[in-house]
Subunit: 569 residues, 2 copies
């Protein structure tokens, strides 16, 4: 049986467009002799559709899209059937009244053949808001090339049942165990699994475990593309009954790849194509690039804009933006104040030159003086301290938004996760933007990514993404200067914060691992420092609530997976 | 049996403080001879605790708070036992691993006596993220005054099982039906039910229905207070077996009220105190006041700040803020531009005078000119159109934030729901603030509220809340001027938007009722206009994602109950 793994990049909510995308994959698969096309979870909607699922008119549009797809398959004999991810209305008024389901669409008709059993409602996921769980396993029997195939069907989380691999699993049935007595020839898992670091390996371990338990190969098809804060990395694959990798699709790009399931595979049989698997830093970089490209594309932006300070964060975002959209579609503003170092301006201009960005330099000193003068009657004098520092950031933010408004560009926020965690950022200032590109990347990781980008190891990735392949990109001058917001003379981040090499591990313990300062103190960390950092973290909640969507690349990002109260103790 | 209905206002996450609050209610109830104290759902945490429930250290703190409460009861003989809302760890590693539960705390010990069966995961609720549902009904048998009492225990949504009253109900068991064979003497429902218009009547209908099905009185205890975007209005009550109201607690304030349950109540027996029930507009006003007061109080703000334009929205927010904090703790900035009418400034100053607000007038013309000059090199000329209009708004937003930063005040955003829906507001400008006070109030309702505030009907409420009781408050000049953003000469909202009397019903159909433009066209509305408004609604999603928390007063507010994708079609 020849399967086409269609690792698609649907647009959220675009039922007609996604139907056309699926049809195109079927037509392409037909030319390569596929018997069945596999698409990701909720492929007709794009994952996550969120509250679009609550709109009755959208559910009607889904039926039309499915009818249209079935009619198109009928109109082109020889086009294979396709498994499509759908939201199935279960005909009851009690809420939730949908199933997260798979429909088999064939020439002239479609029917639901599987329903998801384990519905994630942790982290960024809200599936219990929309869906009710199914309790029965799904087995699809298909006649193909003269024999009957028994396909076990699972949807994403249904495969995530190995507590000791995952750390924690969702309460509920074990869909793999339920399939064992049904003796499938193949297990299919159609997913929309967002990227986070080290998740690729976990997915393969889970698939291997299921393959072993069922004694059959596992075909894992993942969505690809960026949808608001989530980036899906694709990297679909097939493992054999012993967990050996037979086929792997590329990371971070659409692909339709054929794989032949053998009726009774012998050892070593069934190998398909193996796309290269990038190293972790390259994966991270490609994911960020994809997140920016798709957010801009789906929102209809032709160009992006950012403030370039000469610091490492905005430098990294500039590189990502240039890779996502092309340097000629990225515009950089340099917004120096009297406290900006000459080096910063030179470094920013040199970087922009390497990336081919258009730059404008708009000094802000006159506006700073204007605000000082305007505010004096209300403040009884000129603003000082944090008030004055925030004003500089807000002047810059207003200038950036003005250019974005005038040109219809997407402003990219350049703050990193360390800053966002402790509130070392200005609301309505440097936090401005439609997307917080590196808001889930700790400062130490920003340094690592930039060091990698400037290393020979990044050359082929840079070339592949249209960046200059040789020479320094971020540049040693930017990578090696001490972090500074340059909001007062000779300011350095380390005046207000611990060194990032100390801060970042503490934040990871408090945020990702949800440990308390007391626990950290007891474990030998600096408990008083942990307490102080926890206080900063809590007090910055109001800022994060108004932050731009943060591209999620870790297990615990700020955004929809971090739901902390603001007014709390 | 003498019950104390403790309508408490806990602080989210403050386990020790909330324990002390509960203990104080028990001591007060003891002086009035109570046998049992009833507190709201999750009263030890404050509802909603959100992701604080995921922190293991907080669960340990909960155990300590419960132990401390039990010890305090033991130390003061005669203090009644108390039902406390808790998160019960269910001892399994699978997620979610908590129950939303009730603990009976008595002298020297505590035990869980009920677990919630219906877990809301719609609108603003995420209970499936934290809790697993119980499947069994809870009956608590208590010896009291020489007889045994059978108390049916339910938690909030467990009472919401009447599809034809609610429109839609949650899938799952019917906890009331499950209690029928257990023949309770009383049904208790301990809730944290946020305010929305017309919900008070629905709560009483649901309680009356349950009372009829069980043939016993129903005691309904609700939380009171504002927690971020949610405001809990209290208004706890008791109905008899026939649904007649026996006791009612006040709206929007803490109260501990005693009610005597009769062993075999005859007709007309069992009446307790009946606090007055405000009219709908007064309820709405009191809820908004409470929301501001608690947000400011819990976040530790001593004063609030807002921009006063002379328009009706900022006028209403000024009145709410003055009622919440006292006029002497509210500061108003007048930020006139060359396009501001003299009337607007005079009207704003007169309003501030009536409310006793401190004002400063900071003209923005020089800053507008400064930005024009600064931006010219990047824009190839001075900003025009929307870019120029947004700049004015952002200059004002930066001035307001500077004063808020310098003085540690809470900036209140003044935009209404109609504006927030169609994006007739400026991100990083007039949207600035820690709380969007009337972001869930449509413009037409803003007019109604202000007309009510200026009417004799509001006199006693105004006096009660420390506002001037007589004379106009908002003022006819402000109430009767045509809405205008005053961002260009002679601008009126109706230049860009339909009249609010047309727009607001359309928005309500699209937002609250989730109807589509096609459906509205088919139902006789202006389909093309509905389509245009829907487009505006969708395109403003990115602004709302970065909005301040909006005090929710409707069935569908923007905020955590509105989870629409941004990058979508």
């Amino acid at each position: 049986m020849r399967l086409a793994l269609a690792q698609l990049n649907p647009v959220v909510g675009d039922l007609a467009g996604n139907g056309a995308r699926i049809l195109a994959a079927c037509r392409r698969a037909a030319t390569e002799g596929a018997d069945l096309v596999l698409t990701p979870e909720l492929s007709l909607w794009g994952y996550p559709p969120r509250d679009l699922l609550l709109l009755p008119a959208r559910l009607e549009a889904q039926s039309q899209a499915l009818d249209g797809l079935a009619a198109a398959l009928a109109a082109a004999p020889g086009t294979p059937a396709v498994l499509v991810g759908v939201a199935e209305a279960c005909g009851e008024r009690c809420l939730p009244n949908l199933h997260n389901a798979l429909a088999l669409v064939e020439a002239g008709g479609w029917r639901v053949v599987a329903r998801k059993q384990l519905l994630p409602s942790y982290d960024v996921f809200d599936e219990r808001r929309y869906f009710r769980p199914a309790s029965a396993p799904a087995l699809l029997e298909l006649e193909c090339r003269g024999r009957s195939w028994r396909l076990g069907l699972t949807i994403c989380e249904d495969l995530w049942v190995e507590e000791e691999l995952q750390g924690q699993r969702l309460v509920g049935p074990d869909p793999i165990a339920a399939l064992q007595p049904l003796q499938p020839d193949l297990l299919l898992n159609l997913s929309a699994s967002p990227f986070s670091q080290a998740k690729g390996s976990l997915r393969r371990q889970l698939a291997s475990r299921a393959a072993g338990r069922l004694g059959c190969p596992v075909v894992y098809v993942n969505q690809v593309g960026g949808n608001d804060e989530l980036v899906f990395d694709g990297a679909s694959f097939v493992v054999d009954a012993h967990g050996a990798l037979l086929c792997r699709l590329p990371c971070c790009q659409e692909a339709v790849t054929l794989w032949d399931a053998a009726a009774s595979p012998g050892p070593g049989e069934g190998a398909g194509s193996l796309a290269p698997e990038p190293e972790p830093l390259e994966q991270l970089f490609r994911v960020l690039v994809l997140g920016v490209r798709d957010y801009a594309g789906t929102c209809g932006f032709q160009q992006a804009l950012l403030g370039l300070s000469g610091g490492i964060d905005s430098a990294l975002v500039a590189v990502i933006a240039a890779a996502a959209l092309g340097g000629n579609r990225v515009r950089a503003l340099l917004l120096p104040s009297p406290w900006s170092s000459a080096g910063s301006i030179d470094d920013a201009l040199a970087l922009a030159g390497r990336l081919g960005l258009r730059t404008d330099t708009l000094p802000i000193a006159a506006l700073m003086a204007g605000f000082d003068q305007a505010l004096a009657p209300a403040l009884g004098g000129e603003p000082t301290g944090v008030t004055a520092e925030n004003l500089q950031s807000r002047i810059r933010g207003s200038l950036l938004m003005a250019v974005a408004n005038a040109e219809g560009g997407l402003l990219l926020a350049t703050g990193n996760k360390s800053e966002l965690a402790v509130g070392y950022c200005t609301l309505y200032g440097d936090m401005n933007g439609g997307l917080a590109v590196i808001g889930d990347v700790y400062k130490c990781r920003v340094f690592e990514l930039c060091a990698w980008l400037d290393s020979p190891a990044a050359a082929s990735c840079r070339a592949d993404l249209g960046l200059p392949a040789s020479g320094e990109l971020v540049g040693a001058a930017i990578r090696h200067k001490p972090p500074s917001a340059e909001l007062r003379p000779n300011q350095q981040d380390s005046d207000s914060l611990p060194e990032y090499a100390v801060l970042d591990p503490l934040l990871e313990a408090l945020v990702e691992q949800r440990r308390s300062p007391e626990q950290l103190g007891a474990a030998g960390h600096d408990g008083a420092l942990a307490e102080r950092v926890m206080g900063l973290l809590r007090r910055a909640e109001f800022k994060r609530r108004q932050a731009a969507p943060v591209l999620k690349v870790s297990g615990q990002a700020f955004g929809s997976g971090w739901r902390m109260p603001i007014a709390a103790r």
